[in-house]
């Protein structure tokens, strides 16, 4: 009897030690990526308090399913997927997007507009001038104004540096859809940045 109890205690200790080890590992991994996860949550929710709630929820979800995580695979992408899903669950209705079929080609909207602008040309190299004068806050506002599907694509690829394939896995959509959303999102972002530029004194001559 004593032996059985001792054995049981022993295996309980072992299980406890394993759980503790997993917890430490998970905490370290989350800690490593927390700035990025939080930053992404801020751009998704457009609100710092809600962003903290979202990160907290994602962390708890992650911890609950950490036993399914394959060590050696991409923890960062795995955790971003959980974060995105937590956000989508809160905003089911915003995730629909008209999937207009569009060729995935770059179009350099802002560059073209800057080059066409006489007022910018007067101030120097137009493309340098336009970039120098766009403010960080305007970029943030423009990104946050994008519809959620475009915003997520830009956040993952442009801001967080994920590959198309990783972004596709995180969002649970095909690579082609990532590209289409990314390119349409970039186009929309550049249009919005041009709106800011146009409304500014320095390109007054280009109004309309």
């Amino acid at each position: 009897m004593e032996t059985v109890t001792a054995l049981r205690n022993g295996s309980q200790d072992a299980a406890g030690a394993r759980a503790e080890e997993a917890r430490t590992r998970f905490a370290a991994l989350v800690g490593e990526h927390l700035d990025g996860l939080y930053g992404t949550a801020v751009r998704l929710t457009r609100n710092r308090t809600t962003a903290e709630d979202l990160v907290q929820e994602a962390m708890l979800r992650g911890w609950r399913s950490f036993h399914t995580f394959q060590p050696g695979t991409n923890f960062r992408a795995w955790m971003y997927r959980i974060l995105m899903n937590a956000h989508f669950d809160r905003h089911r209705k915003d995730t629909r997007t008209p999937e207009v079929v569009q060729d995935e080609v770059s179009d350099s909207y802002l560059y073209t507009k800057a080059r066409e602008s006489a007022a910018l040309s007067d101030a120097g190299n137009p493309e340098t001038v336009v970039l120098d004068r766009i403010m960080d806050a305007e970029v943030r506002e423009s990104l946050e104004a994008l519809p959620l599907p475009f915003r997520t694509a830009l956040l993952l690829v442009d801001v967080e540096g994920f590959s198309y394939k990783e972004a596709a896995e995180i969002l649970g959509i095909p690579v082609g859809t990532v590209m289409s959303r990314l390119y349409r999102g970039r186009h929309a972002l550049q249009k919005k940045l041009w709106e800011f530029a146009k409304d500014r004194h320095y390109v007054r001559g280009d109004r309309g």
Partner: protein, 74 residues
């Protein structure tokens, strides 16, 4: 590679998502064509601007503490 092809593939190139051969062709074109080179440079700078303005957040220390406290409870 001509300018139209280069411009169409530019984002994919800058995203490092082009196949090796096409990527080298585009790179060669950028070396030879001033217009496309300047467009590429612009797109790259715009990307850097986006990254700088939207990606430089730091998680608040209180959040870090709260998360590690929570994790110990579950």
């Amino acid at each position: 590679m001509n300018c139209q092809e280069a411009v169409e593939k530019l984002w994919q190139y800058l995203d490092r998502e082009l196949d090796g051969e096409v990527s080298s062709e585009l790179q060669r074109h950028l070396h030879e064509c001033r217009g496309c080179f300047s467009k590429a440079e612009f797109e790259q700078q715009l990307r850097a601007l986006l990254r700088r303005s939207c990606g430089a957040e730091q998680a608040p220390p209180e959040l870090r503490e709260r998360l590690s406290r929570l994790l110990r409870m579950f």
